[in-house]
């Protein structure tokens, strides 16, 4: 294998590994990944986490968006569908954070669909 083909194979392997299909905890579960820490699940405070397995059905998550002046505690309430991946990110939308249904389209990119705004984002002055 010459150097050029080797580089092509390496680049293909790298690109193929970019977008992985989500792994679910089991039947009846959905999966959420967040660019910002999840601090509360269905009213229960949890250790800040960026990936969470949640049971299908109505869920309520609090996720914190940090800035240098304030922290925004954003509450998302929605009905999670079993075997579905969700993603929370900041996209300069109306609220600091937005929840999307996340679908792996291929090894190169994923789609963000069906945006859901938080019910509220409570702004708190940083200590």
């Amino acid at each position: 294998m010459n150097r050029r083909n080797f580089l092509i194979v390496c680049a293909s392997l790298f690109l193929n590994a970019c977008v992985q299909a989500p792994v679910f905890k089991g039947d009846g579960y959905a999966f959420i990944k967040s660019n910002y820490p999840v601090v509360s699940i269905n009213g229960v405070e949890v250790e800040p986490s960026y990936t969470v397995d949640i049971e299908a059905g109505e869920n309520s998550l609090v996720i914190v968006y940090h800035t240098y002046r304030y922290e925004y505690y954003c509450t998302f309430t929605w009905i999670a569908v079993t075997g579905t991946a969700y993603e929370v990110t900041d996209q300069d939308n109306k609220y600091p954070l937005t929840l999307y249904r996340w679908i792996r389209k291929n090894s190169l990119w994923a789609s963000r669909l069906d945006p859901i705004d938080p019910l509220s984002c409570d702004q708190k002055q940083k200590p």
Partner: protein
């Protein structure tokens, strides 16, 4: 009698009989053209300068993308950008020779450049963020010029042609202050960007371009966007209208024929909203039409815009 000769710039040096065109004029003109084409934040445009003694047509175009990406456990985000940039200028000037005769200068420059940017984005609050970043630009510049109207030692009119090549490496320190706010379904975005550019140029055949230069440029941008009833492949379209002001702060006005440009326009943006390589968000792909105005300058901007 008209003599025609092709010489290299190195052989000729400063042109005798044309003190109206100094070395620094030629140097600043070349660097200003490269900066005008490759500076971060500038997009495609065709710019026409129509002055009494100068007519020039310039275009610049870029194919690139920039985006923020999240750094977990940090308040700040990362920022990166990559672009291939191209540009051309056809510049025709009427100068006065030392004997008082008119001298015609036809200048064509082509530049191709690769620009990479990397930096951080600091959200001060929900609406306001500061984004400092560093860009490295490698540019390959080709110039062809023809000077018609100088006299040789035998008092014959001559046509002189020069060709030169130069490679330029620029380091650009940029600070972008961005404010955005939503009013119902309409989003207002205001930004101010300052670029400090250090350029190191190397030329084997034109010592005038063997130089290093500091420059600076500033941009003010405003944009308002709103929803439409259109959708494609399940994704909505949004309209936007914008007004931008760009000032090449340190350029001599004679370098390009202008220092300040104002652009107003509109775009239609398809909300593609994908996440390539599981790394950064690509929110929209838009078609933009803009009008550029300035003192004795006009132009337009038609093209695609990825955000």
């Amino acid at each position: 009698m008209i003599n025609t000769s092709i010489v290299s710039a190195q052989e000729e040096g400063i042109l005798p009989g044309l003190s109206a065109l100094s070395e620094s004029d030629a140097r600043e003109s070349a660097i200003a053209f490269v900066n005008m084409t490759t500076s971060p934040g500038l997009e495609g445009a065709i710019i026409i300068v129509d002055d009494d003694t100068r007519q020039s047509e310039q275009w610049r175009s870029s194919l690139g993308f920039d985006a923020e990406f999240t750094l977990k456990n940090q308040i700040f985000n990362g920022y990166w950008g990559l672009a291939i940039v191209g540009g051309r200028i056809d510049d025709k000037m009427e100068l006065i020779g030392d004997n008082g005769q008119p001298v015609h200068l036809d200048l064509t420059r082509d530049v191709v450049a690769l620009r990479g940017s990397s930096g951080l984005s600091f959200p001060i609050d929900q609406h306001f963020k500061l984004r400092p970043f560093l860009s490295l630009v490698f540019a390959d510049l080709r110039s062809e010029s023809t000077i018609n109207g100088l006299y040789d030692n035998d008092n014959n009119q001559t046509i002189l042609s020069f060709n030169s090549k130069a490679q330029l490496l620029s380091a650009v320190v940029s600070v972008d202050a961005i404010y955005s706010r939503w009013y119902s379904n309409y989003r207002l975005e205001l930004s101010a960007q300052y670029n400090l550019v250090y350029t190191e140029a190397v030329s084997e055949d034109n010592p005038i371009l063997d130089t290093d230069v500091w420059n600076s440029a500033a941009q003010l941008e405003s944009r308002i966007s709103g929803p439409t009833n259109l959708s494609f492949a399940g994704r909505p379209w949004r309209w936007s209208a914008y007004a931008n002001f760009t000032s090449f702060l340190s350029h001599n006005k004679s370098s390009l024929g202008y220092n300040n440009l104002m652009e107003i326009g509109a775009s239609l943006d398809w909300q593609i909203n994908i996440k390539p390589l599981e790394w950064f968000g690509w929110q929209s792909l838009g078609f933009r039409v803009g009008l550029i105005v300035g003192e004795k300058v006009e132009g337009y901007n038609v093209g695609l815009l990825a955000r």
